[in-house]
């Protein structure tokens, strides 16, 4: 068996020696350098652009703007964004090109002999702007006084509904009704490797980009669309990638670098171009996890049965859609939690504003939804005097349940099991022992009288795969070499290794599917010139989809081997059963093929004088179906929990008047080693997913999702106060505690 074992990562040797090349490390002769220029205008119309002074800077080789982009638009699911904002565009885009809708809109790419010359020229570009009124937030957006995209007719450009059962009956049957309003913030990905890329025209004449992304073929398609070229003329290669978490799903340098290489090549300039962003450029220049507001009401009988859920979701999409319409869909389903809800009314809106776009980030709408849903459950439990664990067991979905989308749940529903396993691993039924008081400040002695201790629980589910009718696909090709015995096998696959360990898992699954030795597997990876479309590394889908694709390709390759083909080749494009977009009027639809399930218990202490939170222990039970590589799975859990801790407690992106005020790691605080929970206990639950390869389920997002509401629940246990807004920075904790003293 090659799966089920904690094989060491195949990419580790290069990473521990520094040999591995990330995009900024690739050494080619004779680089020239590109600088991307941001608009620096949250909302303004460009009247005039003058490049003459910039072009006169010594060493400048070319400056490219909107006027040079054949089809000046892009977007993963809607073409609502210009590649560059500018004047004299070709007019072949659906979105007007002359308006900057956030400060990170790109206006030019400057190519020069040195980075310094490119920078100097960038500063000499002269632009005349007419400022337009800002749309600060969702409330501003909903007024529709100022339209971010007049062509859309409204800022609230996407609206999903759920109409299930009869709300009057639901409220009439309720003995207790809990109302809540929840606010969740932006989150910056802060992958440690800032964006960087090289571009050139390869020996076959293909415009080639080497960059960190999440889906080679989507990058290829977006570049091809904007450059109005056939996809096969564009080549995307992923070298090593320094983290992604959803943040590399959209375009950063791909299109503009391709454009620059293509334009310069036509002028006889064949040297490769290199560009890299500073941390500040990275934070200003790419999307964030969406901030959002939820208002919601839940009703339940006195013995704990949920009777009705009502929710309104307001998602700040920022200036462009990116993947907001898809994120909103997940949010929409997760805001009702993994529970049987007989009556529901949910309205969810994605709203354009003139702020940084929201987009994909580990959890993809589920963490926001779960914060509201799980907080509501914990409040209901409190009001009913029922243990929050028991309340979940009374209401959770099971294999025969009808989902919130009014369709049967896909088989393999394991929410009950993860909740039970989490409870037993965390000794939920034992009283919580006193902890040592922690020191909020190293120079001040800990004052035990200010420390309160608490414990909280939350659980969650999230779809695996693209969902909502978006076409799934994953290609794999396997070649078998040898004569009598298979001596070696080569897998061709595009899965992006962003750190999650997918290449190690692919190799394990290939060995397993071929029933040959793990060491005989070679791989050709992530280069559109050789590898087929795998879909993205997102939605916790790659192990699930690639495993199925590898099984199919292996089967065919082995058949060819039996037929004496040498090399024997097997190739497939795996597609799971299709999904539906949910109905506009009722919200009915078979939106998802598979879900992941997770539960977490948090034990913490809080200093009620300083507002500091100290997490002693997190227990996470995650149903992974079948752990292909258990240690890699545990690594995903531990990493997700620390990222979620940042989301819930330390990370505080400040956006004022359409501008990010803290685009640095010195002011935007991701968790350091001293912030992390002292102990993380990972419980790998393995309820097979009937459609998953060897029963495996998607898992990498799940452990992120319930942490914030579990922390809020533990804080309530400690202080008797509900915290409905994150991040729980010391100021916010103190403020909430003080406000509560005043009102109570």
């Amino acid at each position: 068996m090659a799966i089920g074992k904690s094989k060491f990562r195949i990419d580790a040797p290069g990473k521990v020696t520094g040999e591995t090349l990330y995009p900024a490390d690739i050494d080619r002769e004779n680089f020239i350098h590109a600088k991307v220029v941001f608009s620096n205008k949250p909302h303004a119309r460009m009247k005039r652009m003058d490049l003459s002074a910039a072009e006169a800077v010594t060493g400048v080789l070319g400056i490219f703007t909107a006027a040079d982009v054949p089809v000046n638009e892009y977007g993963l699911t809607m073409f609502d964004q210009p590649v560059m904002v500018g004047v004299n565009a070709t007019g072949r885009s659906k979105v007007p090109s002359d308006v900057s809708r956030w400060e990170g809109d790109q206006v030019a790419v400057v190519v020069a002999e040195t980075p310094e010359a490119a920078q100097a020229a960038a500063e000499k570009i002269q632009i005349e702007w007419e400022d337009l009124p800002l749309v600060h937030d969702v409330w501003d957006g909903l007024k529709d006084d100022v339209l971010v995209h007049p062509e859309a007719g409204t800022n609230a450009f996407k609206h999903y509904v759920i109409r299930k059962g009869a709300m009057d009956d639901g409220w009439a049957a309720a003995d207790v009704i809990i109302e809540g309003r929840y606010e969740v913030p932006h989150q910056e990905h802060a992958y440690l490797q800032p964006e960087a890329a090289i571009s050139y025209v390869d020996e076959m004449g293909r415009i080639t980009i080497e960059i960190g992304g999440q889906w080679t073929h989507e990058d290829q398609e977006q570049v091809a669309h904007a450059l109005d070229m056939p996809a096969e003329d564009i080549r995307i290669i992923y070298p090593a990638i320094g983290g992604a978490f959803g943040g590399r799903e959209d375009m950063s340098l791909q299109i503009v670098m391709a454009l620059a290489s293509w334009k310069l090549y036509q002028k006889g300039e064949t040297r490769p171009i290199r560009s890299q962003w500073s941390r500040e450029e990275s934070i200003i220049g790419h999307h964030k996890r969406h901030r959002a507001v939820v208002t919601t009401r839940w009703g339940a009988t006195k013995d704990g049965k949920i009777t009705a859920v009502e929710a309104d979701v307001y998602l700040d999409a920022g200036a462009y859609n990116y993947t907001s319409n898809k994120v909103l869909g997940n949010f929409h389903l997760c805001v009702a939690g993994p529970y049987e809800i007989p009556n529901a009314r949910i309205d969810s809106y994605a709203i354009y504003t003139t702020t940084v776009p929201g987009g994909a980030f580990r959890g993809f709408g589920a963490p926001q939804g779960a914060f509201a849903a799980e907080s509501q459950m914990n409040k209901l439990a409190d009001a009913l005097g029922i243990d929050p664990l028991e309340l979940r067991l009374m209401n959770c979905l099971h294999d025969e349940s009808i989902a919130i989308t009014q369709t049967p749940m896909p088989a393999g529903v394991s929410i009950r099991q993860v909740v039970e396993d989490c409870a037993s691993a965390s000794q939920w039924h034992q009283p919580l022992a006193d902890a040592e008081p922690f020191q909020a400040f190293q120079s001040l002695a800990a004052d035990k009288s200010n420390i309160r201790r608490g414990r909280g629980i939350a659980c969650a589910y999230k779809n695996v795969g693209f969902s909502f009718g978006f076409p799934e696909r994953c290609e794999a090709k396997i070649e078998l070499y040898g004569s009598v015995e298979i001596e070696r096998a080569v897998l061709y696959h595009s899965a992006a290794e962003v750190g999650q360990g997918t290449h190690t898992a692919l190799r394990q699954m290939t060995a397993e599917a071929l029933a040959i030795d793990y060491d005989k597997i070679e791989m050709v990876l992530s280069d559109t010139a050789f590898t087929g479309d795998s879909g993205s590394v997102s939605a916790s889908r790659m192990t699930f989809m690639a495993g199925n694709a590898i099984k199919g390709a292996a089967e065919r390759a082995l058949e060819a081997w039996q037929n004496e083909d040498r090399p024997a080749v097997g190739q497939i494009r795996f597609t799971p059963r299709s999904t539906d977009m949910i109905d506009d009027v009722t919200g009915k639809g078979d939106a998802n093929i598979s879900y992941g399930y997770v539960a977490e218990v948090v034990e913490l202490s809080v200093d009620i004088e300083t507002g500091h939170i100290h997490i002693e222990r997190v227990v996470c039970a995650d149903d992974v179906g079948h752990a292909i590589n258990p240690n890699l799975v545990v690594g995903q859990i531990e990493g997700a929990i620390v990222q979620a801790y940042g989301y819930a407690v330390t990370e505080n992106l400040r956006v004022v008047d359409g501008r990010i005020l803290n685009p640095r790691l010195s002011t935007y605080l991701i968790p350091g080693i001293k912030d992390i929970p002292l102990q993380v206990d990972s419980v790998l639950v393995e309820v097979p997913d009937p459609q998953g390869p060897w029963g495996a389920r998607g898992m990498a997002e799940m452990p992120f999702i319930p942490l914030a509401p579990a922390i809020a629940a533990a804080l309530h246990d400690a202080t008797d106060v509900w915290f409905d807004k994150i991040p729980l920075t010391p100021e916010n904790v103190i403020r909430t505690l003080r406000d509560n003293e005043k009102t109570s």
């Binding site: 060491f8 020696t17 999650q500 690594g635 997700a640 620390v642 640095r664 350091g672 080693i673």
Partner: protein, 155 residues
Amino acid sequence: MKVSMTVNGKGVERDVEPRMLLVHFLREELDMTGTKIGCDTSQCGACTVHLDGKALKSCTMLAVQADGADITTIEGLANGDLHVMQESFWENHGLQCGYCTPGMIMSTTALVQDNPNMSEGEIRHQLEGNLCRCTGYHNIVKAVQQASEKMGGGD
């Protein structure tokens, strides 16, 4: 300005801009890209190297300030075989994307050399200057603990 130093045991001499950072000197002048850049504000530690045996964030120093110094980078840590710390990061899954890893390994090797008997709490305290966005740090602590045992700690 002329600057000369020893990098991974070899003498190097270059004429550089006075404001060039040591990290850029290593990456751009010497093409040694094992040392990474993760921030603009000396927060992340991805650029950590050894200067005369001590861990240093190479983005906090000018190349000319390192004149005459003895520098070791991640490329120079292994002596043929992997260094115990490198092996330990590998075996304990102390890395995911790997971008923080060279800096983590340079910080921790200097640390363990100075103080081979660190408790878990001390390791956490000492690694405050190195950020990792992927692993959640637990496996990094494990890797350091195991390596420090092998490097002669605990006796």
